[in-house]
Amino acid sequence: MSTLTSFVGRLADLNALRTDPVTGLVTFALVAPPDGGQLVVGIAKLFQRYTRTLLLKQGSMPYRPDDGCTFLIDADSGLWRTTFDVGQSFISAGLDVYRQMLADELDTDPPDEMFADASLVNIALTQDQVGITVEVFSQAGTSVVGVLPIVTLPR
């Protein structure tokens, strides 16, 4: 839970990720009652920035064709048959994600908002969904864990 002092001297982003405190499941929502929207700083902002980069299909954002990576492109193309396949995609997308995370950062950023590493903790593969548990590490040595649900059924 952030306090007012957490925001002092930091740049706040709008919070788009809501994490269930029990299961760690991450959902996407700019507004989730009872609040009318939240600001986010610190490692939570770092996790949001990481999630945005990992789950953005490269070439899908107009005028930012280099943003994102191939992780969900692999999912859409049906490459994911086993947890090994998901892991392979995560690793191959990792370099792009790493490069973009560093490119966004300034030396003056707080260490807990600067990217150090990310690891794939767990993969839960079901018929229509993949739940990946990701741990993101900051330059401050802190980390945050979240479960990202990815629907793999064609829509």
Partner: protein, 545 residues
């Protein structure tokens, strides 16, 4: 925004300039950061959902504004006529008092053949079909059996065709505006509700009056030529004379031959063997295609050889002004092809009672003008004249090729208020080079044939649009056909054959696979600035392999 959106199409949000959009994004980021120094705007939710959308919308508005400003700029419109909507271009060109011509529908007469000599009535608004277009009658027509029954203006007489049937004509107009409705003589046109005893129906003559609405490109071309004031002075002024007269505004090409031009013969009428100026031959192509007109001429029997007679007809200056040549002479209503053999043609000229006329001293100079006259003798191989006396008369159908409106333009420039006092102007139909074009379309294995009719139409249109250049390149044909070919299809075995009908009545043939070059023959007024190429879609022979 309403006037902006009416003037130009909005740019697609996903097709904006990338660099410019990025630049706007950076600007928005900087301004927002200054206004809200505690927000993270570099990469995140604010960036993706607010700044990026704002940058895209701002870029779209900027590009639309640029388009709008360009659409009000004549220079930019000329560089890219597709930039603005026709409404915007029309608004700009209205500053030059130019408005687009709306086009007009083709009309003409239809011959209806029936097998019974009973009264037939065709109602006003009766519909016919040809070329996929609908034509409607312009009035009621009642075809009567006896001449005594022809009383009202809407009555006409059923006439025998010679093969046991009867025929009459009705006037129709195409429901679709444009040149597509210009039927050729003898082209089939079918009534939706056939009259009793219906046998067949076809166009009596080439339809006339079908003019396509003026496109933006046409209007811009007219604007570029439009700065020349109308006057009988130089090439541009002559063109302006036609353009500013609604009756002649759709002229296709024109060429002015005057002092110093080798094809000018009329300014050498003195005892000095030099051109003295003061004469202009104005070659005007009024329509893309020559017209075919059927005349009913009374012929006089002038000679007999056993039972075969030689007949003579006179084609006066108002019968088919400036006509090129006779296609056929046959009995009226004959459905047989071919023509009776023409044995002699004696050209002449007739000034009639004109208060003023151009300086013409021989039939050569009068050829293809409204003053041209012709005496024609031919042999009728079907009529037994053994019992007919010399001097007997008989009607014949004479089909001629001509360029319409030559007489109207001549009469216009010869009128007292219009006539140039610096010299005289003789309006002429361009010397024709009638073409036959053949080529082969090579397809890939298994490919379907391309639309050969559309290709023939496109090639004919391209050829008929060539100016007074004196040459026709095969590339003109290739360029016209190319958009209608599928991937991998190519043109081969190009053959261009032209027949130039010269003013003295003789013909010369030119042939080449790459470039048809008009042979310069100044003594007969034949040259690059007097000859035009003509081809109908039927003259385009396409084979596939």
């Amino acid at each position: 925004m309403s006037s902006l959106s009416n003037a130009i199409p909005f740019r697609d949000l996903l097709s904006l300039d990338v660099d410019s959009t990025q630049s706007r994004l950076v600007t928005i980021q900087t301004r927002l950061q200054e206004a809200f120094p505690t927000l993270y705007l570099q990469r995140g939710v604010f960036h993706d959902t607010c700044e990026m959308i704002a940058a895209i919308l701002e870029e779209q508005l900027g590009e639309n504004l640029d388009d709008y400003l360009s659409s009000r700029s004549l220079m930019d419109i000329l560089n890219d006529p597709t930039l603005a909507t026709p409404d915007a271009i029309n608004a700009v060109l209205s500053n030059f008092l130019l408005t687009p011509q709306t086009g007009s529908a083709a009309g003409g007469s239809v011959v209806i053949v029936v097998n019974d000599d009973t009264t037939v009535t065709i109602a006003l608004g009766a519909t016919f079909q040809a070329r996929g277009l609908e034509y409607t009658t312009t009035g009621v027509t009642s075809a009567r059996v006896e001449a005594s029954q022809v009383i009202l203006p809407t009555d006409t007489l059923l006439t025998p065709t010679g093969d046991g049937n009867w025929q009459f004509t009705v006037s129709v107009v195409c429901e679709t505006i444009g040149s597509a409705g210009m039927l050729n003589a003898d082209e089939s046109i079918i009534p939706d509700v056939p009259p009793n005893g219906y046998v067949t129906s076809y166009a009596a003559n080439d339809f006339t009056g079908g003019v396509d609405p003026e496109t933006t490109t046409d209007l811009l071309a007219r604007q570029q030529a439009g700065f020349a004031p109308p006057g009988l002075c130089n090439q541009g002024n002559f063109a302006a004379v036609l353009r500013t007269n609604p009756s002649f505004a759709n002229v296709v090409n024109q060429s002015v031959v005057g002092y110093g031009d080798p094809q000018m013969l009329r300014d050498k009428h003195t005892i000095f063997p030099i051109g003295l100026g003061g004469r202009v031959d104005w070659y005007v192509r009024t329509t893309p295609q020559y017209a075919t007109q059927v005349l009913t001429e009374s012929a006089v029997l002038v000679a007999k050889n056993a039972n075969v007679g030689t007949w003579q007809i006179s084609i006066g200056r108002d019968d088919a002004p400036g006509f090129y040549e006779i296609e056929s002479i046959l009995p009226p209503g004959s459905s047989a092809g071919g023509t009776f053999p023409i044995t002699e043609i004696v050209p002449g000229f007739d000034f009639s009672t004109d208060p003023w006329h151009p300086d013409i001293v021989n039939p050569l100079e009068a050829a293809f003008t409204r003053y041209q006259t012709v005496l024609v003798q031919f042999t009728d191989t079907t009529t037994d004249v053994s019992a007919l006396p010399l001097g007997a008369t008989q009607n014949y159908s004479v089909t001629v090729r001509l360029m319409p409106q030559i007489d109207a333009i001549q009469d216009n420039v010869a009128q007292e208020t219009m006539r140039s006092r610096a010299g005289d102007i003789l309006v002429k139909a361009p010397i024709p080079c009638f073409l036959t074009i053949s080529f082969t379309i090579v397809k890939l294995p298994g490919q379907a044939d391309p639309d050969l009719t559309a290709i023939a139409n496109a090639v004919a249109l391209a050829v008929n649009s060539v100016g007074f250049t004196g040459s026709l390149f095969a590339s003109v044909i290739t360029a016209a056909a190319a958009p209608l070919l599928s991937t991998g299809q190519q043109l081969q075995n190009m053959d261009m054959l032209g027949r130039i009908v010269r003013p003295d009545g003789s013909s010369v043939t030119i042939r080449d696979p790459q470039q048809l070059l008009v042979p310069e023959t100044p003594t007969l007024m034949v040259g690059a600035n007097t000859v035009q190429f003509f081809a109908t879609p039927d003259d385009i022979n396409i084979t596939t392999m």
